[in-house]
């Protein structure tokens, strides 16, 4: 019973993570400019990959695999936002203007 519940929970996490990654991919394709695309990648990748890793940790149980997954999780939580931040900064300093919708202002 316990195993089934754990399995179910793990799959919920895995599917939610996959959904986030899919939304991120759609965002990259559909958003109008570099910054909004970066936003889609950053938010959904961190969240999606994180959820997938949590799901895998539940599958792994109390073992060395889970510890390694936890380290990857920790690593991604730091590196993904940093990379996106650096990219956005570089684009801004490269004088890339964000697309602004000025109809409402």
């Amino acid at each position: 019973m316990m195993a089934l519940a754990l399995d179910l929970l793990s799959w919920i996490f895995l599917l939610a993570g996959a959904a986030f990654l899919l939304i991120g991919a759609i965002g990259v394709l559909r958003f109008p400019d570099f910054y909004t695309r970066l936003h889609a990648v950053s938010v959904c990748d961190t969240m999606g990959a994180g959820l997938v890793l949590i799901g895998l940790m539940l599958q792994g149980g109390l073992s060395l695999v889970t510890v390694k997954l936890l380290l990857i999780f920790y690593f991604m939580m730091f590196t993904c936002p940093t990379a996106v931040h650096a990219l956005a900064q570089a684009a801004l300093q490269g004088k890339l203007k964000p697309v602004v919708d000025d109809r409402e202002s």
Binding site: F78, T82, H85, Q89, Q93
Partner: protein, 324 residues
């Protein structure tokens, strides 16, 4: 299920390959090449070749991307449109490809358990490794012990490549700390780089000395070690990185790695064995093998790390001195 993953990965590889051929922006091509390597690495994991996957991920997706970006930064990011028609190259490629495919028809089927390689070599390695060498990772035992000559050759090739780059590009030590003006403002990058540098170096050492038991070894470890310092150079500037590891030290280390490797081989001869025969290194043959593998992996790691940094510094320092 495994077939499905194979097909998806191979399909993505093909799409990436076509995109690489079609695109003219070299920056995009570099990124796609990196993706290609990452996909190959995933494919190697599916094939249970974890050691190769680690190498591909570290070298193909990691350091060669950085080197290509450094090259693009000092040349151009536009590929010239060829003036001749692509007809002749197409014919050459198709003919060569057809000949190669024709050549593979005689080869044993993919995954055939009766293939000669599985019946003779692989079976012998799998049977003998626990008895003679006693390391769980058979790849390491083949690479470092049974095929020690080959690996010595590979390390020498890497060393020669480093010398070649040095001879062609030279090495410019920068007194002042040159780095793109904007990057100083990215405080987050510097903080994270400082936080992760020790972890990356620690991971490289783990890969190096855990190669007997898990996937890994000198080549991967050397590259990861070099990546740590390249990250430092990117975040804190080239001058600081060159002060951290001076040129002389790098040159010495690149040679020292090959020398350690060859010295282990000669030590075996002095102790009454053959060249690169590790079992005479200690009283117990298995301990001797362990010691030998550990030492030559250390040599490989030192040379690879040093040469990667020599190439990187050679490329990047030239870029900054070009306009002076």
């Amino acid at each position: 299920m495994e077939h499905f993953i194979d097909i998806v990965l191979l399909g993505l590889l093909m799409i990436t390959g076509f995109a690489i051929v079609r695109l003219r922006s070299l920056l995009a091509v570099t990124m796609l090449t990196s993706i290609y390597s990452l996909l190959s690495a995933a494919l190697f994991v599916v094939l249970d070749a974890v050691d190769v996957a680690l190498t591909e991920a570290a070298i193909g997706a990691g350091i060669s991307t950085i080197l290509m970006l450094a090259t693009i930064a000092q040349t151009t990011d536009r590929e010239k449109v060829p003036r001749h028609t692509p007809l002749l190259p197409l014919i050459v490629v198709i003919t060569t490809g057809a000949a190669l495919i024709y050549g593979t028809l005689d080869m044993p089927h993919y995954g055939d358990p009766d293939a000669p390689v599985h019946r003779h070599m692989a079976a012998a390695y799998l049977h003998d490794t626990p008895l003679e060498i006693g390391v769980p990772n058979v790849v390491t035992s083949v690479l470092a012990s049974y095929r020690g000559y080959d690996t010595l050759g590979e390390v020498t090739v890497i060393f020669t490549a480093g010398i070649g780059v040095l001879a062609l590009l030279g090495y410019h030590t920068r007194r002042q700390n040159i780095q793109p003006p904007g990057i100083k403002k990215i405080v987050v990058l510097r903080v994270i780089a400082k936080l992760f540098l020790p972890l990356i170096l620690l991971f490289a050492l783990y890969i190096l000395f855990h190669g007997d038991y898990g996937p890994g070894g000198g080549f991967q470890a050397g590259v990861i070690f070099a990546t740590g310092f390249i990250l430092y150079a990117l975040a804190f500037g080239l001058g600081n990185a060159q002060r951290l590891i001076p040129q002389r030290l790098l040159h010495g280390l690149a040679a020292a790695g090959v020398l350690i490797y060859a010295a282990v081989g000669i030590e075996g001869m002095l102790l009454g064995g053959k060249f690169l025969e590790y079992r005479v290194l200690a009283d117990d043959p298995v301990t001797g093998q362990h010691l030998g593998i550990m030492l030559i992996e250390l040599g490989v790691g030192i040379t690879v790390a040093a040469v990667m940094l020599i190439i990187y510094f050679g490329f990047v320092s030239r870029q900054n001195s070009g306009d002076s």
